[in-house]
């Protein structure tokens, strides 16, 4: 089929981008039990940070990524210091944090609207040009996205596996109390996890806006899609969510091609719902025995 290579290119590109977002979300859920509904806004802020860095400050294009990473990490840290750390004691944390982050998300989105206006802007941090891979012409931007995403993911995976911080994060995610007994400073871990996921979101935002455009609600739908990719894999399962990101990106690409762009998200959602009815803990999730 003639269209298949194009679908694949889209799927791989979008999948790479989503897996960055799912990584951040899964990390925060696994380590803290927190569904960060402000993640989408951190995406948006990253995209705009890159825009400002390049357009307003006149820095070279790769600084856009630096700005996005820094702002994302900063927002993550502020979320911890200003919000999360007061709420951890409450047993209804899981629920309350969702409401609180929804509030913050909308407030921040409005701030962006106020500062930059509602008109869509072009993302200056992007490459132009095409490359020919076999029979298919591929935009260099797509290649950049895939390369960057994969590199970052490998970096994060390696950090988690080998570094002291990484071990502390994994330990906290797998058994928080045992980690505490070993002297892991879990509040610092929470701070670092939020900062890291913010940085990841920031980069995702730059990449996403380079494919589409910058607008205040940029991160909202991608965040929801990334979330349901995490959920379908089993929340907290990092490699699973990356796999789910690619698979679902492929499904979305096919759907959009054959049925039209607007049916991508709905079809995705229906599939995820069906998958969750079949396996409520996620396709790769482990059934957890809850001590009542």
């Amino acid at each position: 089929m003639d269209v298949l290579p194009y679908i694949l290119v889209t799927a791989v590109t979008v999948g790479a981008m989503y897996s960055l977002a799912t990584l951040g979300l899964s990390l925060v859920w696994g380590a803290m039990g927190m569904l960060n509904m402000a993640h989408g806004t951190m995406l948006t802020l990253g995209g705009y940070a890159a825009y400002s860095a390049v357009t307003t400050l006149g820095l070279p294009w790769y600084f856009g990524f630096v700005a996005a990473i820094l702002l994302g990490a900063l927002v993550g840290a502020i979320l911890y210091y200003g919000l999360v750390r007061f709420m951890l004691r409450n047993p209804a944390f899981e629920t309350n944090i969702i409401i609180a982050t929804v509030g913050i998300a909308i407030a921040l989105e409005n701030l962006v609207l106020k500062i930059y206006g509602g008109q869509p802007l072009g993302q200056p941090v992007s490459l132009h040009g095409t490359l020919r891979l076999g029979v298919v012409p591929v935009q260099t931007q797509n290649i950049l996205i895939v390369v960057m995403s994969v590199t970052i993911m490998v970096l994060v995976a390696w950090t988690l596996k080998t570094s002291r911080v990484g071990r502390a994060i994994r330990a906290t995610a797998q058994n928080r109390e045992a980690a505490q007994l070993m002297g892991v400073p879990i509040r610092k871990v929470y701070l670092k996890v939020l900062a890291i996921s913010g940085a990841l979101a920031g980069v995702s935002g730059v990449l996403l806006s380079s494919l589409t455009q910058l607008s205040p609600p940029l991160g909202n739908d991608p965040m929801l899609k990334a979330f349901i990719m995490c959920v379908v894999a089993g929340l907290g399962n990092l490699p699973g969510s990356v796999l789910a990101a690619f698979v679902l990106a492929l499904v979305e690409a096919c759907t959009q091609f054959y049925l039209g762009a607007r049916w991508g998200f709905p079809v995705l959602l229906i599939l995820v719902i069906l998958a969750l009815i079949w396996r409520p803990y996620g396709v790769f999730g482990r059934t957890q025995v809850t001590r009542l």
Binding site: L35, L83, F86, M87, N90, A92, E94, T95, N96, I97, I98, I99, A100, T101, V102, G103, I104, A105, I106, A107, L108, E109, N110, L111, L113, K114, N220, D221, L224, F227, I228, V231, L235, A261, R262, F265, P266, L269, V272, I273, L276, I277, P280, T290, L292
Partner: protein, 334 residues
């Protein structure tokens, strides 16, 4: 002091006395109209409170149900020329069906997962409506989409109060919406105080125990989903009939946030929470009108602050304060 039920009846009478006289006391239509919106929000929030606060299900689909009721009523009036009075009950019933469908899809999961899925469903529906571009009907040279698209629906009929009461139509509508508020809150009260309400609360507070006593989680959660949808759908239909125009903004995140905030600020799970919250929030919104574009920002921050600092809400705070006062009185007396 007064027992629970007696106290609630007293509070209800106080509220009713105030609400019944307000339209005749207030200066002009604007404020009367604002109180009507308070009633609407209170109805939806009180039904949402059944699901969220009493049964402990973190559903974010309530506004989607509200919108469904509104759209159903509007579309029945627009395409089939139904009177809104006939359309609303049907809208209510079909909203119950939709709610049960959503429940079937989402309620096998727990906690935050339900929030995600229901939010996604609401957003997808919003997305589908706004991106609907296929012409369904032609109106002269203008194209109308089946779902109304980004424009929405208008001119599908109304409550008939303009014809019957002429200049006083707003006051008439006011009392119609107030009647809906009274009925729906009564409905909520009966459910909460019934054995069913006890079962919902048991599932929320101690699921293991409840299940071991034979309260099937899925079945009961589906039940509360269905029950809460009826008046939500009717409220949607009434909203459409009152404002005579609806659009996809009913599914917007900021509106959902507003109604969510009324529940949180008022006090999740508290009977009077939604009404108190609606009054406070519409009031605050009035004040924030001065700030123009910062309105939504302020709203988001208020929600976040309340969840952090006062998760039990205003009503919870008042109750705690009253209990503290009672204890102090006892101590000084005894």
């Amino acid at each position: 002091m007064l027992s629970g039920v007696a106290r609630d009846i007293l509070i209800a009478f106080l509220f009713l006395a105030v609400f019944a006289t307000l339209p005749f006391v207030l200066d002009g239509r604007y404020y009367t109209g604002q109180i009507v919106t308070i009633f609407f929000y209170a109805v939806v929030a009180s039904q949402w409170n059944l699901v969220f606060g009493v049964a402990g299900i973190f559903s974010l689909a309530q506004m989607a149900l509200f919108a469904f009721g509104a759209y159903a009523t509007a579309m029945l009036g627009f395409y089939l020329d139904w009177s809104v009075w006939a359309a609303m009950p049907l809208a209510g019933l079909t909203t119950v069906l939709v709610s049960i469908l959503i429940g079937l899809a989402c309620l096998r999961l727990t906690g935050a997962y339900v929030a995600l899925l229901t939010l996604s469903i609401a957003q997808v529906v919003y997305f589908l409506i706004v991106t609907d571009t296929d012409c369904f009907v032609m109106e002269g040279v203008r194209c109308r989409q089946f779902t109304g698209g980004a424009v929405g629906f208008s001119q599908f009929g109304d409550l008939g109060t303009r014809k019957a009461f002429r200049g006083d139509w707003l006051t008439a509508n006011y009392f119609i919406v107030l009647a809906l508020l009274i009925v729906s809150m009564l409905f909520t009260y009966v459910i909460v105080k019934s054995p069913m309400g006890l079962a919902f609360r048991a599932l929320r507070d101690n699921p293991g125990y409840a299940i071991s006593r034979g309260i099937g989680r899925f079945k009961y959660q589906l039940l509360v989903f269905g029950l809460s949808a009826f008046f939500t759908g009717i409220a949607g239909g009434l909203w459409a009939s009152h404002f005579r125009a609806i659009g996809p903004n009913l599914l917007s995140l900021s509106l959902m946030l507003f109604v969510l905030a009324t529940m949180v600020v008022g006090g999740v799970g508290r009977f009077w929470g939604p009404l108190v919250g609606a009054i406070l929030l519409v009031g605050a919104d009035e004040v924030m009108r001065e700030f123009g574009e910062y309105r939504t920002l302020g709203l988001g921050l208020i929600l976040a602050v309340f969840v952090v600092a006062m998760p039990q809400g205003i009503v919870g705070l008042l109750k705690a304060g009253a209990a503290c006062l009672r204890r102090r009185l006892k101590e000084t007396a005894g």
